[in-house]
């Protein structure tokens, strides 16, 4: 679906990305992880066609991304930016209908097909009751649900998300990621998601790409990437990694400095954490 080869990008002499290769296939969720300033957001801008790389190429369905018109591209790629949906005075229904824009003609009105899709999306996302509610009266988590519904109305084949859960509480984080996963399963969507939270990334992604200083350092299944050595190297912290008691997917626990000093206690703290309800970090 989306392939990138050797993308390199620099701003004012500073190299932000160096020779990144990646691929996102239909039906697959690829997670992009890495510390702040590692170049994740720049990579998302290049992969969504907002900017073109200094060197290397980004191809959507085998065709250079810059060769697509913005409209054609928007029919295939939906992007949820980090800022999410601003508190606009439009109603939920109006915002979801905005997702139909790339499918609509030059006239300002909405067609029958558009209304059908919007109705479907509203019922799938259980937003029917709120359809006439103004978005500026909603919380951040609810707005993110509307943003996802808008992306669904766009009917893309590739969905790019830049830290969709950053400002949300744990229940909204799970709700959003579950919603995206069930949408993906149904439509065979390709998903590329930037996540800060390594535990969520491990649980929701089929493949992880770890970047550091603009270069790809690890790539593979969550079990391949979420390893003490990689996390120590890239994030500079000493993690404790344990399998999730239900899914066996590796989960990262953090070790405060004080625990390090009392290293004899560390074994106990691990077993305590594994039992606790805070495995999502």
């Amino acid at each position: 679906m989306l392939t990138a080869e050797g993308i390199t990008q620099s701003y004012g002499g500073t190299v932000v990305l160096r020779g990144i290769d990646l691929e996102v296939n239909p039906g697959e969720t690829v997670g992009l992880i890495g510390p702040n300033g590692s170049g994740k957001t720049t990579l998302v801008r290049l992969l969504s066609g907002e900017e073109t790389p200094d060197a290397g190429s980004v191809k959507l369905k085998g065709r250079e991304l810059s060769a697509w018109s913005p409209r054609e591209r928007a029919r295939r790629v939906a992007v949820l930016p980090q800022e999410g949906l601003p508190p606009v005075a439009f109603t939920v229904e109006e915002v979801v209908t905005m997702g139909r824009h790339p499918h609509q003609g030059p006239w300002p009105w909405t067609g029958r097909e558009d209304r059908k899709v919007v109705d479907q999306v509203l019922s799938q996302t259980s937003l029917e009751r709120e359809r006439h509610q103004s978005v500026d009266r909603m919380s951040g988590g609810e707005r993110q649900r509307v943003a996802i519904a808008k992306a669904m109305a766009q009917q893309p084949e590739l969905l790019i998300l830049d830290e969709p859960t950053t400002f949300l509480d744990i229940s909204h984080q799970l709700a959003i990621l579950d919603r995206i996963r069930s949408w993906q399963r149904k439509e065979g969507l390709a998903v590329l998601v930037v996540l800060h939270d390594l535990n969520l990334a491990a649980q929701y992604c089929d493949r992880l790409l770890m970047i550091q200083n603009g270069a790809l350092v690890r790539e593979g299944t969550p079990a391949d990437v979420i390893q003490s050595s990689a996390i120590r190297e890239v994030y500079g912290v000493e993690p404790v990694i344990i399998p999730h008691p239900l899914t066996r997917i590796p989960q990262v626990l953090l070790r405060p400095e004080s625990v390090d000093r009392r290293s004899r206690l560390s074994k106990e703290s691990v077993s305590f954490s594994a039992d606790s309800r805070y495995t999502f970090g």
Binding site: S48, E50, S69, P70, R71, E72, R73, A74, R75, V77, A78, V79, P81, E83, L85, P86, V88, A89, F90, E93, E94, V95, T97, M98, G99, H101, P102, Q104, P106, W107, P108, W109, T110, R115, K116, V118, D119, L122, Q154
Partner: protein, 347 residues
Amino acid sequence: MTSNNWLLRLAGWSFLLTAVLLFSAVTAVTMGAAEVGFFEVWQVIGHHLFGGWMSIPEPDPATGAIVWKIRLPRLVLSVLVGASLAGAGVVFQGLLRNPLADPYILGVSSGAALGAAIALFTEWGSAVLGGWTVPAWAFALGCFALFLVLRLARVGSVLRTETLILSGVVIQTFFGAMLTYVIATISAEELKQIHLWLMGSLALRQWDQTMAVMPFLLTGTALIWMFSRQLNLFALGERSAGHLGVSVRRTRLWLLLMATLMTAAAVAVSGTIGFVGLIIPHIMRMIAGPDHRVLIPVSALAGAILLMWADTLARTVLDPRELPVGVITAFIGAPFFAWLLKRRRSW
């Protein structure tokens, strides 16, 4: 069922405002030094528009002349100018995502006024441009002023409200000074003209001036309405608009040019009338919602009504003397602006 309820809103508000506009127009024409009755106005209009097919007699030549030659052209012009200033205001506020943007505050009006004054008093370029000299100059300098304001206001890549307004004030002051200078050096005996350009006035306007700006204002409003869905997407932010398939740069440039052209055409015949483009989009957004498909037409209608009444007041309040109409709009607009500043919510 998903309703197309913006269409209902548009139809309802347009019908109501058009009715108010028509009723106001006829009432406004009766007002003034010479007594003219309500039905006489209809008679004169009927006589001129349909006199060819139906025999509608003119009440008497004097009344006919007052209505058709003096009051009506000016009234129609106030409608056109009010509609375009309000329409341009909607575009500026929507594109810049800033509730305080309007053609006057952004300095576009001052630039256009300077351009129009240069064209009128020097007649530079009239050999090539002919009848288009004044609007062309007004447009060119209006664009220049807008360009300067946007350049000044941009800190990094963000456009902050405070800096935008300050830049507008700077450019407005500078272009205002240049305008005064140009008029003072070129025609010392016509210093009264400065008054007209600085505060805006529709006094002594004839049909030919009204007809000259009409195409700009009508096509301008129609064209920006064609972009109303894109303007809605801009409310989500320029990045999101881009992700939804809007060619952000091209659309923004095109809309800014259209709004500036509408402002320039209005300013070329009326000088700088402030606050219409600020108040009207605001009030209409509050009562008719943020959807630009509704907002653009209803704001144009409401702007027309506001300026028509403002101009009627301007010519009757101190009768037989005239007030510049910009004085009236500033009396209403400045307190409104102050109130907005105090209760401003971020968009």
